[in-house]
């Protein structure tokens, strides 16, 4: 297995592109699951809703906005080049942000 270390902030805020190089949104949050002693990043939150993720409820409550962002599973994004993360699936296959999570 190939492995490589990088800083989370190298990915944070990067624009994710789809297969046709169309920008999908910015990486704003990384949802992880604890398995044993480790935390595995299982989902990437993309787009303006990701910013709301970071701000956690406040703005939504103020402006009555709902989701609007997208969620990619870890296997739906290629972060081989942290400056240029790309989807490995189509945009339609992405999930949407659940405001209650």
């Amino acid at each position: 297995m190939k492995h490589e270390e990088l800083f989370l902030d190298q990915l944070l805020g990067r624009t994710v592109v789809a297969g046709n190089n169309r920008p999908v949104g910015r990486l704003e949050e990384f949802r992880s699951e604890q398995r044993g002693d480790s935390f595995y990043i299982v989902e990437f939150v993309i787009g303006s809703a990701g910013l709301l993720e970071r701000l956690n409820v406040g703005l939504r409550a103020l402006f009555g906005m709902s989701g609007g962002g997208k969620v990619a599973r870890w296997d739906q994004i290629d972060i081989g080049d942290p400056l240029r993360p790309r989807l490995t699936c189509s945009v339609e296959e992405l999930g949407t942000v659940d405001p209650t999570r």
Binding site: R54, L55, V57, G58, L59, L62
Partner: protein, 404 residues
């Protein structure tokens, strides 16, 4: 200490600690040039400060975090870097102005140039911070600061027409120099709603270990202290309006401002004015310095507390010491304290939107304020303040150039 005593001390501190070099200079100039016409600006500024102070306290009580810490955690360092750098510059300038103001007060009493008094004043301030616990600093400022009630006493003794004073609370267009009027109105806000005050208040709330059950004390102190404290600023404005405006004296220096006490206090005028200016400035200088230690420690995660021995929190102790040394060095260079004050006040206004905006998010985030979120009214007022702050920020520099 019972909650009621805490409240009383908190309000006294709010009154005694309200005026400092910024509010004295802006209110005095406003009174001298526009009579009672800008009293509404003092009232609006005080209301803004009270609202933001209460929120800072509530945030600290419910989340055990100050604003600086909460902004770092919620918005990240990229967002915080901008207001942090702005506030470092601003606080240094303001501290320099306060040191200058205190030094001028001593000059008024001794006749010896103010630059000679900067280093002794700086040393006195540092010694006070070095050897005192938080409550000594805070309540000391408040109690000593009651001497600034001389401004209220002077205003009362001059016997202004109550109808005229009351009309000053209704915003009106000036009969002359609209640009200067607008600039002074905005400057009064900038002098009152200082960023350091909010973080200092939230830090103090944590130093005093205020629990959620006692949050009513926070609310009452914030509103009571700031509203009653603003009466002192109004005293400055009314006194200047009664004494300086009829003689058409524009206030160009603090030495000149001292004249406003002569009709009310006769031979006590210079002494009382000097004491009020000195204590007001010293109090603010102590808060600004201590807040620098608080702010840097909270943002970078160092231990902090004015209630622990200085050696236990060496980075915190060095931070507030260093800013005092730097400001003293700047003040010794002899920049005109009044000019410096007006520049600091304008810069405060420029920074203000960045200060107010985080509150919109933090005060509605249950992770921080739990069930003590803002009401709809509170949010509406806060949103209006943010917009107002942004508008003021846009116009203050052009106004300063045109009318300052």
């Amino acid at each position: 200490m019972s909650a009621l005593l805490d409240l009383l001390l908190g309000i006294v501190t709010g009154i005694g600690g309200f005026v400092e070099v910024g509010s004295i200079s802006t209110s005095a100039q406003a009174g001298a040039e526009f009579g009672f016409q800008l009293l509404w600006a003092v009232a609006v500024a005080a209301a803004m400060l009270a609202l933001l102070t209460e929120m800072s306290g509530r945030l600290a009580v419910m989340s055990k975090r100050t604003i600086a810490a909460a902004v770092r955690e919620r918005f990240g360092i990229h967002f915080q870097a901008v207001p942090l750098c702005a506030e470092l510059v601003l606080d240094l300038l303001l501290l320099t102005a306060e040191l200058g103001g205190a030094a001028i007060a001593v000059k008024l009493l001794t006749g010896i140039g103010f630059q000679w008094w900067v280093l002794p004043t700086g040393l006195l301030l540092w010694t006070t911070l070095w050897f005192s616990r938080f409550s000594i600093v805070e309540y000391g400022i408040g109690l000593l600061g009651l001497v600034t009630l001389s401004f209220v006493l002077a205003a009362w003794r001059l016997g202004p027409d109550t109808g005229d004073v009351a009309r000053g609370f209704i915003p009106s267009l000036p009969s002359h120099d609209g640009v200067r009027y607008a600039f002074l109105a905005i400057s009064i806000v900038g002098a009152t709603v200082s960023p350091y005050l909010l973080n200092f208040y939230s830090s103090g709330t944590i130093e005093e270990d205020v629990t959620p059950d006692e949050r009513w004390v926070n609310t009452a102190t914030a509103y009571g202290g700031d509203v009653f404290g603003s009466v002192v600023s109004m005293g400055v404005l009314v006194t200047a309006a009664m004494v300086m405006q009829p003689l058409q004296i524009k206030i160009d220096s603090y030495e000149q401002a001292a004249l406003m006490f002569v009709p009310a206090f006769g031979r006590w005028a210079v002494g009382l004015f000097a004491a009020s200016l000195a204590i007001g400035c010293v109090g603010a200088a102590l808060e600004i310095s201590l807040n620098m230690g608080y702010m840097l420690s909270q943002i970078f995660g160092w231990s902090w507390s004015a209630n622990k021995p200085r050696v236990e929190n060496a980075r915190f102790s060095c931070a507030f010491s260093f800013v005092l040394i730097a400001a003293s060095a700047l003040a010794v260079l002899g920049f005109d304290p009044l000019r410096l004050t007006m520049i600091s006040v304008a810069l405060t206004v420029v920074v203000m939107p960045l200060m107010v905006l985080p509150f919109l998010v933090l005060m509605n985030d249950t992770q921080f304020v739990k069930d003590q979120r803002n009401t709809v009214v509170g949010n509406a007022v806060l949103a209006a303040l943010t917009v107002l702050g942004a508008l003021m920020a846009l116009v203050v520099i052009p106004l300063e150039i045109l009318g300052g």
